[in-house]
Amino acid sequence: MSERRYRVTIEVNGVERQAEVPARLTLVDLLRDELGLTGTHVGCEHGVCGACSVMLDGEPVRSCCMFAVQADGSRVTTVEGLEQDAGKLSVLQQAFCDGHGLQCGYCTPGMLIAAQGLLDTTPDPTDAQIRDAIGGNLCRCTGYQQIVDSIKLAVARLDGRSR
C-alpha cells in the first residue's frame, strides 16, 4: 500500500514552493531532501540540538519537530534566506566569519537563525539576552564564546538596525 501524500504550498525564502508529501515527512527533510536547501542541518532529530532551526512565519522553530504538512500555507526562512543579496552574506553571517563564530559549522545554520530571531526583536541585546537566545542550540567546537562575540560584532556593525 502506498503512503498517502498531501499537497503543501509553502513560501520558502520568498519563493512559493509546492510539494506532495507523506504526512510523516518532517519540515527539515522537506527543505533538504525535496527542495535541495541543505543549509539547514539535521542533528538529533528530536528537538534537542537546534541545528535544524528555521524561521516559521518570522519566528525561530525547530524544523525537525514539525511535519511538513503542518507548514502548509506558512512562510519559512532558512539560513539560505538570510543572505542580503544573491550570494552576499548578511552582516550577521559575515560577523560569524570574521569573529570565528564557527569551527566545524554543523550548528551554524541553527545559531544564525536563533541570532537573527533575537536581532529581529532586540536590535541591541545584552550578553544575557544573547546567551538566552542561543540557549537551545548546541555547539561542540567553539565553547560558545566566539559565537556570542560574533553576535556582538554583528550588533556593533548593525548599529541599531536588525539586518
Partner: protein
C-alpha cells in the same frame, strides 16, 4: 529517526476535532505544538494512525477573563503567553513557570494545553496548574466537563482526559494584583532541561504582613506534580517568618517519595525539595510586599 506512517487531518473547529476523535478513538492523537509528540513519534514511542492537527482552530488561541479566573485557550503558544504583559500581571505564575520551559524555538511552537496534556511529571506548567488548582476544560462530542488541576494528572504522561476528549481551555484562578507574590524555581542539569526538582509558590499577605492566602507545590518528585494545600493552609495567619516557611518545607519534603536516576538520588531530590520550597515561599512572600515585583 523517522516517525512511522500516519494519516493527517487538519481540524478547522473543536467540533471537527472531537468528531474525528470519536470516530477513530485510540488510533488517533491530537497534535498541538508537537514539541513532545513529534520527538516521541520519531523515537516510535508513539505511533498514532491518525494525527488531528488543532493548531489552526481560532477559538483555541484566545484568552479572556471571566469573574475569578483567566481563560486561556489550549493552543496559546508558550512564548506569546510569556510575553503577554496583561497575563503577567493577572496570573504571574505563568511567566514565572515559562521562564524555565524549553527554549525560544520550542516555546514558539509549544502550547499551554499541550504541555498539560503531555503530563510530564517534571514539567513546569503542570506544576503551576496543580499549585493554583487551575481548571482544565475537556470537550468531547456532545459534552464538556471541567477537571480540577489536582485531579487532572493521574500518572507520568497520563491524565484524566479520555481518548475522545480535547483539552480546550485552562481556567487560571485570579488572586488579584495587590499584595500577591509568586515564585518558581528549579534545579536541572542545564537551563531548559527537565527539572530534577521544581518548586512553585504563591502567597498573599495583609497590611500587617501576615499571610492571608498561600499555595505551593513540587514537581519532579513524584509520579505527578504535587500541591500541598493542607500545609499551605497552615501558613495562613502566620507572619511567613523563616521558621514558618522552614516547617512547611520540611514537612513537604517528608511527604514526597522521589525516585532516583543517574542524575539525582532520592535523598538529593528530597534535599532539593526542602531547599526549593523554602526559597520559593520566601521569594513569594517578599514579592507580595513590593508592588509590581512579580512582573519582571
Amino acid at each position: 529517526m523517522k516517525a512511522a506512517a500516519f494519516e493527517y487531518q487538519r481540524a478547522e473547529s473543536v467540533e471537527q476535532a472531537c468528531a474525528a476523535l470519536a470516530e477513530h478513538g485510540f488510533d488517533a492523537k491530537l497534535i498541538a505544538g508537537g514539541q513532545s509528540l513529534v520527538p516521541m513519534m520519531a523515537m516510535r514511542l508513539a505511533r498514532p494512525a491518525l494525527l488531528i492537527d488543532i493548531n489552526r482552530i481560532a477559538e483555541l488561541t484566545t484568552s479572556s477573563e471571566h469573574g475569578d479566573h483567566a481563560v486561556l485557550g489550549a493552543c496559546a503558544r508558550q512564548q506569546s503567553v510569556k510575553q503577554d504583559q496583561r497575563l503577567a500581571a493577572r496570573v504571574p505564575m505563568l511567566r514565572a513557570a515559562l521562564a524555565w520551559v524549553g527554549h525560544i524555538q520550542t516555546r514558539n511552537r509549544g502550547t499551554i494545553g499541550g504541555s498539560l496534556a503531555h503530563a510530564d511529571p517534571s514539567a513546569e506548567l503542570p506544576l503551576a496548574a496543580c499549585v493554583l488548582d487551575a481548571r482544565i476544560v475537556l470537550r468531547k462530542k456532545g459534552s464538556t466537563r471541567t477537571v480540577a488541576g489536582a485531579d487532572f494528572f493521574v500518572a507520568p504522561m497520563q491524565t484524566a482526559a479520555e481518548t475522545d476528549e480535547c483539552l480546550t481551555e485552562v481556567h487560571w484562578p485570579l488572586w488579584g494584583e495587590q499584595r500577591v507574590g509568586c515564585a518558581f524555581d528549579e534545579v536541572s542539569a542545564r537551563h531548559g532541561d527537565f527539572a530534577m526538582v521544581a518548586a512553585a509558590a504563591q502567597v498573599q499577605t495583609g497590611e500587617d504582613g501576615r499571610c492571608t492566602r498561600a499555595a505551593f507545590g513540587l514537581g519532579g518528585v513524584d509520579a505527578v506534580p504535587r500541591a500541598f494545600p493542607d500545609l499551605a493552609a497552615r501558613l495562613v495567619g502566620s507572619a511567613l517568618a523563616a521558621q514558618d516557611i522552614e516547617a512547611a518545607a520540611n514537612t513537604a519534603a517528608g511527604e514526597i517519595e522521589p525516585g532516583e536516576d543517574l542524575h539525582a538520588s532520592a535523598a538529593y531530590r528530597r534535599h532539593l525539595a526542602r531547599v526549593l520550597v523554602t526559597r520559593v515561599l520566601s521569594v513569594a512572600r517578599d514579592r507580595s510586599r513590593v508592588s509590581g515585583a512579580n512582573a519582571q
